[in-house]
């Protein structure tokens, strides 16, 4: 049981995003669908803007 709990803890730790993992990368072509509540219809419409992307899920 202890090993199982340790295993779960280790998996949880490695599921945590490493802060700054992609810092320094330049985005290539970004393909997204279904833009809603914004006038943008594609990522190209955000050209010249500073963009805050937040990944989320409903659950």
């Amino acid at each position: 049981m202890r090993n199982l709990l340790l295993g779960i803890a280790a998996l949880a730790m490695f599921a945590t995003p490493a802060t700054g993992q992609s810092v320094g990368k330049t985005l290539g072509k970004v393909e997204l669908d279904g833009f809603t509540q914004t006038g943008a219809r594609s990522y190209d419409d955000l050209v010249g803007r500073t963009v805050l992307i937040e990944f989320f899920a409903y659950w």
Binding site: F14, P17, Q21, G24, L27, Q37, L46, T50, I53, W59
Partner: protein
């Protein structure tokens, strides 16, 4: 994510666009957006392609991208402070292309095509000079960022950016400067060596870290890069990433 409503409201007119992304289906997502009073824009990252490209392995995860398309900050949303956002608004267009007035449609079209010379030329004919000034400030900020990367010895970023800007800014003095920097790096054997190290670090950053042994293996390889490229940005990048992996191991 009420904080996104606040950030959107506070910084949209200063050049920030907020976009929330999910890989989930529309039905549940739309319900969630409505129930949580989210007013910001959102879109779907089908199959999680962008999420994978950015190394997102847990959510929520915030990524700040500057006007040149470079990731300047990533982490848990609560860690993103106003100071960080404000640091990266320099050179951002105050008005996004989809909100530009009808008379500026030629500017918007050229911007979408990433032809900055044509965009500035089209803005020159407008009665309101602010759009042209904003475009010139954006071009200047991107060239300054390129020069800073070059001066810092970040040759990989400088080389990739210079090649892209030479194309996007073709017809402008800034395009000539970008082309000259790309050519200079291309002839510099020491810069090429550093870029080799930077590419090696980038490859390790893209490798999946699913278990502690993966992190341990990466740490070993990063130490080798630190030693081989000592005193260069490749060693610094390797040490930074090693530090983050070690923090993860300790947690």
């Amino acid at each position: 994510m009420p904080h996104l409503n606040e950030l959107d409201e506070k910084y949209a007119s200063r050049g920030l666009s907020v976009i929330a992304l999910t890989s989930e289906g529309a039905g549940q997502t739309e319900k969630w957006i409505e129930q949580n009073g989210a007013k910001y824009g959102y879109a779907y990252d089908k199959g999680g392609k962008l999420s994978r490209e950015l190394g997102v392995s847990g959510i929520p995860n915030a990524v700040l991208v500057n006007p040149a398309g470079k990731v300047v900050w990533q982490g848990g949303p609560t860690g993103l402070t106003d100071d960080v956002i404000e640091q990266h608004l320099g050179g951002a267009l105050a008005t996004p292309v989809f909100e530009m007035p009808k008379e500026a449609s030629a500017v918007a079209k050229s911007l979408r095509a990433r032809s900055f010379a044509k965009a500035i030329s089209a803005a020159d004919g407008l009665q309101d000079p602010s759009l042209k000034q904003s475009l010139e400030a954006m071009v200047a900020a991107q060239i300054e960022a390129l020069k800073a990367a070059h001066a810092d010895g970040d040759f990989l970023t400088a080389s990739e950016t210079a090649k892209r800007l030479a194309k996007e800014m073709n017809g402008l003095d800034a395009g000539v400067e970008a082309k000259a920097i790309a050519a200079e790096i291309g002839k510099d054997s020491a810069a090429k060596r550093v870029m080799k190290g930077q590419k090696a670090v980038r490859k390790l950053q893209d490798a999946p870290v699913k278990q502690p042994k993966d992190a341990a293996e990466l740490i070993k390889k990063l130490r080798k890069i630190e030693s081989k490229f000592e005193g260069t940005i490749a060693a610094r990048d390797a040490a930074d990433y090693r530090g983050r992996l070690e923090d993860m191991m300790r947690r």
